[in-house]
Symmetry: C2
Subunit: 359 residues, 2 copies
DNA sequence: GTGAAAGCGCTAACAC
DNA sequence: GTGTTAGCGCTTTCAC
């Protein structure tokens, strides 16, 4: 079928397309509607300058030929691909663990959909591939802007993107990111409420199991825990560092419970660690919550269905995704930034917390 | 800055780019290297017909100008965007639940990376948006092919994609999908091993909690459970239908345990339901595994860290993603299909199963 | 209001 | 081998 001679290829003859031989183009639509290509273009770009009846005919012709503007040609001509990128660096073992990523992506899509933007995704394993992924996105002109998630302390990416000339929206607690534009509610709020909740129940030794080192949100959650204790006049609690994984959470829990002055409550950097921690405590003969209160972070779908149901902090991650998308599109199109109003973290009290030593 | 007159824009003068005023193009590289554009093009497309020294100079010039072929222009000219699409339809509440999606995407990226393809993602909520997402992908020429996941019984999508002229690779158990090309190991194997494991332990009343209706993998898991019982000469066990969610798993568990002849073991359609089921059993005063053995499906990261650790079936989902990507690229480029060899499901025995009535 | 024509940056024939 | 040239399908001035 590729042997078709070139000569008849150039004819922009609407009748040709009846044969379904090739995809119809703007020229076919114009011919069928009896107008020029620019008229068709104007109609499909919501531009004035086309009479109502011409418009009708054009729309009719396009529908008849099942024609939509070709994204590739459009991208070249407009010098914009109407696409934004998301590069996810994640250790393989954390990939299916993390409730953040799918929710964020779903939110992003909601924000993008109304603007006709598409999302180009790239998953990488290490920092080097991450950098080159951004570089490729930029140099090849595949995307107009990118999201920056999993912000790290002293993250090198804002500078990299700056130098690549890529527009970026960071997802991180307010102005902790180094990125020019950032969205994200403060994780600390939720932790603060968790500490207050425990204190109100009568706990005085409240420990913390941190998330993976180097991430802005790990650091922030830890700081919020520390500050909240201080603000309540409670002694600094014991801390054990972990990495958002089940195994690290279990190990950290042992560490805290081995202490001479073991905490009566532990706040974990995420739900996965909290649940692993509950299992550890139970295995050590402690009852949860009677002997040990446990609080997680994320409110994963499983949290209400374990035993005991997990007290935790919930954030509206899809809303973040949506907001980030709206912001990125606004930046890319050089429009006014939308007012962003993110819902605060919710603190969800379930059965894994109670007054200490209730037995 | 848009007032720059056109005339000087057309000059393909390499010196111009020194000013960083605009991104360099193939013309700039050609000029700097003292060759023609086609020579540059040939080099960057690994084509013969360029002398070694010209090649050197071209590569040098490109590096100096920090130039890479523009993906937009390339896509138009080649009539291929080097992009494939993935449309995910997922009820919001199942979004962060599902271990499949992130792992699959990670695998896809591995398969795509070596071919220089990118992944365009779209998350939709319902069937209508799903259809139009595919239609947009096709009509706008954004992607060369798509993946078909979450295959449903009598799935209308293969026919839709056929009519759209989009190449597709389905992810589903062998030849259950209706799609021309399919990858995916048989979920049934894992279930079969689960049933045999329970039978060997001495269970005779083995129940099943199904996944959401209408999905090929839900149906297949159920059928494998039925067939395995029959092949072992065991009586057909009780079944309760659920929907992969915690709440539905809990309800289904109650349903089965309320039976006069309640099962001594239950195989669940996924881990989330299995864990919710264990909690239900425990709350009803049963001990797991002594009074009730429980088997899940997926081996989520949490599975080893709950109490008791969950016996379950693990599949190598990233490997599926990778294989699907290799296959799709081969189809798109009209090359020979790669030989695909997917690892079989692994059956992971932990502490949630034991001999019945061990007490 | 409408149409002609010149790009967008690259690829790929086809001469030289 | 190397360079010239004609597109790819759309957008966008600029005359009419």
């Amino acid at each position: 079928m590729s042997d078709t001679s070139k000569s008849d290829r150039s004819a922009t003859d609407a009748k040709l397309t009846a044969g379904q031989a090739r995809k119809s183009t703007i020229g076919d639509v114009a011919a069928l509607a009896g107008v020029s290509k620019s008229a068709v273009s104007f109609v499909f770009n919501n531009r004035p300058g086309v009479s109502a009846q011409a418009r009708e005919r054009i729309l009719g012709a396009a529908a008849q030929l099942r024609w939509k503007p070709n994204a590739r040609a459009r991208a070249l001509s407009r010098r914009s691909s109407q696409t934004v990128g998301l590069v996810i660096r994640r250790a393989p073992e954390l990939l299916s663990t993390d409730p953040f990523f799918p929710q964020f992506v779903a939110g992003v899509e909601m924000g993008l959909a109304s603007h006709g933007y598409a999302l180009l995704l790239q998953v990488v394993a290490d920092a080097t591939s991450e950098q080159s992924a951004y570089a490729r996105f930029a140099d090849e002109g595949r995307v107009e802007g990118v999201f920056l998630t999993d912000m790290r302390v002293d993250d090198p990416r804002p500078a990299l993107l700056e130098s690549l000339g890529l527009i970026a929206v960071g997802v991180a607690p307010q102005s902790e990111s180094g990125a020019a534009h950032t969205i994200g509610a403060n994780d600390g709020d939720g932790i603060r409420r968790a500490v207050h909740h425990l204190a109100a129940l009568g706990h005085r030794r409240i420990g913390h199991v941190t998330g993976a080192d180097g991430y802005v949100h790990s650091a922030l959650r830890r700081r919020a825990w520390e500050n909240s204790l201080a603000e309540l006049g409670l002694p600094p609690g014991p801390v054990a560092s972990a990495a958002f994984t089940g195994i690290s959470g279990a190990r950290a829990t042992h560490e805290l419970l081995d202490l001479a002055d073991a905490p009566t409550a532990i706040i974990y950097g995420n739900d996965l660690m909290a649940i692993a921690g509950m299992t550890v405590a139970t295995d050590r003969g402690l009852r949860v919550p009677d002997d040990l209160s446990v609080i997680g972070f994320d409110d994963i779908p499983l949290a209400p269905f374990i035993s005991p149901p997990l007290t935790t902090v919930r954030q509206d991650v899809p809303a973040w995704g949506r907001a980030a998308a709206e912001m990125l599109v606004a930046l890319v199109e050089d429009k006014e930034l939308p007012g962003i109003d993110l819902p605060a973290a919710e603190f969800v009290v379930r059965a894994s917390t109670s007054t200490p030593g209730r037995a």
